[in-house]
Amino acid sequence: MNTTSDTKQTGGRRSFLPAAINLRDAGTLLGLALIFIVFAVLNPVFLTIPNLLNILQQSSINACIALGMTFVIISGGIDLSVGPAAAISAVAGAALMTAGVPLPVALLGAVGTGMLCGLFNGCLIAFAGLQPFIVTLGGLSLYRALALIFTDGNPIFGIPPEFRSFINGDVLGVPVPVLIVGLIAVILWVVLNRSPFGEYILAVGGNQEAARIAGVPVARTKITVYVMSGGLAAIAALILMGRLGAADPTMGNLWELDAIAAAAIGGASLMGGKGSVIGTLLGAVILGALRNGLTLMNVQAFYQLLATGIIIIVAMLIDRATRGRA
């Protein structure tokens, strides 16, 4: 019967708030502040400039992966293959570097490899209609296998020193990886909030069929987020490679889970259509601060894992309670 009425749902909750203020990000920031306060009280070293920079530095790799993950999650997907995609990109980059290819070309080669992984995922998802979880689960094994086969399972050493000193350097005391990821975050914030593509991602994740009927290029949007995720995984891999001085084909184990955790703490909804660049950054820093603080207090690694799990679940419970029905 044609009598379904929507009128009852109009009495919008929190409609009195201007849409521009992102409550969710404020909540994440509050959570971060709480963690900072607790550790600052427990350990005087925690709240010093060197340690704070250390936290940012330690969080930068996860933040880089998590930003890509955030875009994928907003589009309604998931990318489980980021760790192996990072490994294969690192291995490819290192192989090019040790073969004497000019450094910028080798770097492009590494990032291109990550993007190719994403393109493969994206095409299977957008054109073959496979589920993102399964496709990227396949990618997870596939890219790891390729990295291991290509290197015979051995790390590639001999990373050029100028690349290593660049990654390990700092500008006015701020570590280069933090600057790189910060710059990426600024760009991605603009993309998500100010570009048509950002609207497309949010629309595809929010209601794919409605977006398609409204003329959104759904396939192109989906493929692009996976390519971005692959590319960002490669950048994270390069940062780690620069710090370690080697490209290990086993690099990036379980990175996808940390990245998903950071995105979720930052307000990304695994149902799609919701997520924030700032939130994800804060989420990554929350996880980083937690590990750093617990390490400073000499808490065993087992308990760090425990704390991480608790934080994720508490964050989701608060999320649920404040957002009302999901």
Binding site: M1, N2, T3, T4, S5, D6, T7, K8, Q9, T10, G12, S15, P18, A19, A20, V190, R194, S195, P196, E199, Y200, L202, A203, G206, N207, E209, A210, A211, R212, I213, A214, G215, V216, P217, G273, K274
Partner: protein, 513 residues
């Protein structure tokens, strides 16, 4: 069989939704073993009545009695316990499970200990039940491997397991072949012989006359008559189904002579076959037909949402093949979909974002959205359309149905498409917003937009259309223009007639607007 005892009495049922009175004072009676038709046009209140009977909806007033005792079920489960079973048009079973598991879903037979499901006992009992209905159905088979007709029989078995006194069937033959209908009819008469009363809802007059003894006719949510079908003609029944006064004034035509859209032999290889029609500049072309006649499907083909497998579409004289809605939009065609929530809105995004989706380029410079510009344009557009509240930053999900509809229409105005397809534009919209949308459609036609309006509500079609395409069973049954447009002619074309099941006549009256 039919006696004067009353099995089911429906007495003075009222049911309203915000802005709509779906049922007003509906009463009828069903005798034991009677097959009782429930007839009416789309929107007459049949489904609401069934939902009240099966306690999916709670009536605002009135009562239901079974064998003289008033029942007040508060859930479908309680209605079943009281003896009313419902066979839905969309069959409700769990695909992976076996026939027996589906029959015993929610009330399994237990083993002696009471902990485990006794599958063997279930299958035995299911076999007993099915032996009477259709012995070919193996209770151990996964239900999704059965034909639809057999799945329906399983649902009937489920109803019998509950000792249903009344089985209500909603459009039971919508996906059956004629021979499957014959076996269903035989089964129905068997059930009625055993004293089970059947309430039979169908659009198909020949079926109703074949299986039902009496029928209750609803119109606009009101009771019209309960008739003895042996003493009533098909035409009389149709007349009382559609016979409402033609209320609204006809609009002024703005149709020109240029053909902006031409469909030739359009089909999808499944439902739609050989659809031919023209749409002129400034014209409002109505598309009438029963639910399931293929109207939405045809619109989706034109809008590039589903793939056309046969025929051709010309836009402004140029042949176009759309692979995506995006391509149709760039050719100037936009669809306002029937299911707004599913196909129209992105709920959590703002009104402005929802408006801008098809035409991001227009609102961007150097790859970035000009938010202020977008907000200004969206605000002025929505002011013209009287969006309430007039706040384009609010998520669209927080607006009422009518206001959401204005945003979707505004989206196509912002994208400046020339051809607008409206699929049930006023479904789920209260009366005030309805007339605003009618006015809007007329204003759009006056400014030279060409419009197609699919509607199940004849007054809407009559009020808006310059010409009317009538669809029936996936084909265009006829196109009416000028004085030919009246309820009787539309109904005659839309309702599948008893004799002419081979409805291959390509009625296409001369149709200059």
């Amino acid at each position: 069989m039919a006696s004067d005892i009353i099995r089911l009495a429906v007495d003075g049922i009222h049911k309203g939704f915000p802005g709509v009175k779906a049922l007003e004072d509906v009463s009828f009676e069903v005798r034991p073993g009677e097959v009782h038709g429930l007839l009416g046009e789309n929107g007459a209140g049949k489904s609401t009545m069934l939902n009240v009977l099966s306690a999916v909806l709670k009536p605002d007033a009135g009562e239901i009695r079974i064998d003289g005792a008033t029942i007040r079920p508060s859930s479908p489960k309680e209605a079943r316990a009281a003896g009313i079973a419902m066979i839905h048009q969309e069959l409700q079973h769990i695909p992976g499970l076996s026939v027996a598991q589906n029959i015993f879903l929610g009330r399994p037979l237990k083993t002696a200990g009471g902990l485990l499901v006794n599958r063997r006992a279930q299958e035995r009992r299911a076999r007993e039940l099915l032996a009477e209905l259709d012995p070919d159905i193996d209770p151990g088979r996964p239900i999704h491997e059965l034909k639809v007709a057999q799945q329906q029989i399983v649902e009937i078995a489920r109803a019998l397991l509950d000792d249903a006194k009344i089985i209500a069937m909603d459009e039971p033959t919508s996906s059956l072949t004629p021979s499957e209908f014959d076996s269903l009819a035989a089964l129905i008469s068997k059930l009625s012989g055993q004293g089970v009363s059947i309430i039979y809802v169908s659009h198909k007059m020949d079926e109703v006359f074949q299986v039902c003894q009496r029928a209750t006719i609803l119109r606009d949510g009101r009771f019209v008559a309960t008739v003895d079908l042996a003493e009533t003609s098909e035409d009389e029944v149709i007349a009382s189904m559609v016979g409402r006064e033609i209320s609204a004034e006809r609009h002024v035509s703005h149709a020109g002579t240029d053909v902006v859209l031409r469909a030739e032999g359009v089909g999808d290889g499944r439902m739609i076959r050989g659809a031919n029609f023209d749409l002129h500049k400034g014209e409002v072309l109505g598309v009438a037909g029963l639910v399931g006649a293929g109207r939405t499907e045809l619109m989706r083909l034109i809008a590039g949402i589903d793939r056309m497998t046969e025929g051709r579409v010309e836009v402004n004289g140029v042949e176009r093949r759309f692979r995506t809605p995006r391509e149709a939009i760039s050719a100037g065609i936009g669809l306002v979909p029937e299911e707004r929530k599913k196909d129209g809105i992105v709920r959590d995004r703002s009104v402005a974002s929802n408006i801008a989706l098809p035409c991001m380029k227009r609102f961007s410079r150097a790859g970035l959205i000009r938010r202020a510009h977008l907000r200004r344009e969206a605000t002025s557009l929505m002011k013209q359309m009287n969006l309430r509240p007039p706040n384009v930053d609010r998520p669209i999900g927080q607006f009422s149905g009518g206001n959401q509809q204005k945003v979707i229409i505004g989206r196509w105005l912002a994208a400046d498409v020339d051809i607008l397809l409206f699929d049930e534009p006023t479904r789920g919209i209260d009366i005030g917003a309805k007339s605003e949308i009618y006015d809007l459609i007329e204003r759009l036609a006056a400014t030279g937009k060409s419009i197609i309006v699919v509607s199940s509500e004849l007054p809407e079609i009559l009020r808006l259309s310059d010409r009317v395409v009538v669809m029936r069973e996936g084909e265009i049954a006829g196109i009416l223009s000028g004085d030919e447009i009246d309820e009787g002619r539309i109904a005659a074309l839309a309702i599948p007639q008893s004799k002419s099941r081979s409805s291959k006549q390509t009625a296409e009256p001369v149709s200059q607007p």
